[in-house]
Symmetry: C2
Subunit: 150 residues, 2 copies
DNA sequence: TTACTAAATTATAATTATTACAAATTTAAA
DNA sequence: TTTAAATTTGTAATAATTATAATTTAGTAA
């Protein structure tokens, strides 16, 4: 089964009608596990699909998030990033190069909460901020992350 | 010691020169533990301090974050929120009313990481999204959080 | 096929949080 | 008092996202 067909089935399983644009976006997400922004997705796809509109990307990402196809990450204060891996894991963002990485998590009670007191929990996000090895070797990251990030 | 003086000392301890504006903002943060946005802070203070500029609030919040006076929360996809309690705790946001609450955390290994493989960790954020009791009783929150939040 | 309807996509404009910038004011120092 | 530095301020710019309405596409009934 090729990647396009896989993307199509992925959408069908989530109850989403697989249009050309939706398939292209899902295929991109499945093949590029870089936690892209809406802009990243648009820029990557508009080369091969010149009629694609940025509004469609935003509409589609909202649909995908609603249907549980992706998780919206708020780790980057500038953009929303999307992760098609909705399994339980944490995320790291390098304040030097802004790359976002997946971090596996051990069975941790605080990440599996469905209820805290009166509060019903629907999503849990564990974010780490810091510096990757490459950026540290370039001496990025000797100061506070907040001031570098601008 | 009154709250103004307390705010002033708080800033001095963090190596910040306590101007009138900075003291007013710190005093507000110490007295209103609601994880306000820059806009919240501005709107609350400009009544008593009519010359205050929103740019000053943003500048000051950046300074405060850099100096460790506050933590910047990215729990709300619309705004940055600020927490003057920089001790280790998690946050909950109600997708019905957008209130942000503090959640105590037990000693959890994943929250005290300083290094993961090659990555140096400088900040850890644990966010819960869901619905508070009040919003659940109003039948807000029967659907996916992403679609409500708009 | 044709006509009709609903869904999806698109372009454009609007909104809004945040930042950049430069002038004005205040504070500190000489 | 003069001068320099720091802080504050208003305005304009930026940029991510959303709203809106028109257009296109897909699906369906006659």
């Amino acid at each position: 089964m090729d990647t396009t067909t896989e993307a199509q089935y992925h959408l069908l399983r989530c109850g989403i009608k697989p249009s050309l644009q939706r398939i292209a976006i899902a295929e991109y997400l499945l093949g590029n596990r870089i936690h892209p922004t809406a802009d990243d997705i648009y820029n990557a796809l508009c080369v091969k699909m010149p009629t694609l509109s940025k509004t469609t990307v935003y509409n589609t990402m909202r649909l995908f998030a609603d249907q549980g196809v992706v998780t919206s990450l708020m780790i980057d204060d500038k953009n929303i990033r999307f992760d098609i891996d909705t399994s339980c894991h944490a995320h790291f963002i390098c304040c030097g190069c802004n790359k976002v990485l997946d971090i596996p998590v051990d069975e941790s009670p605080c990440l599996n909460m469905k209820q805290i007191g009166d509060l019903r929990i629907t999503e849990t996000h564990l974010y780490y901020k810091g510096y990757c090895k490459t950026c540290r070797s370039k001496n990025v990251g000797v100061v506070c992350p907040e001031s570098i990030n601008q």
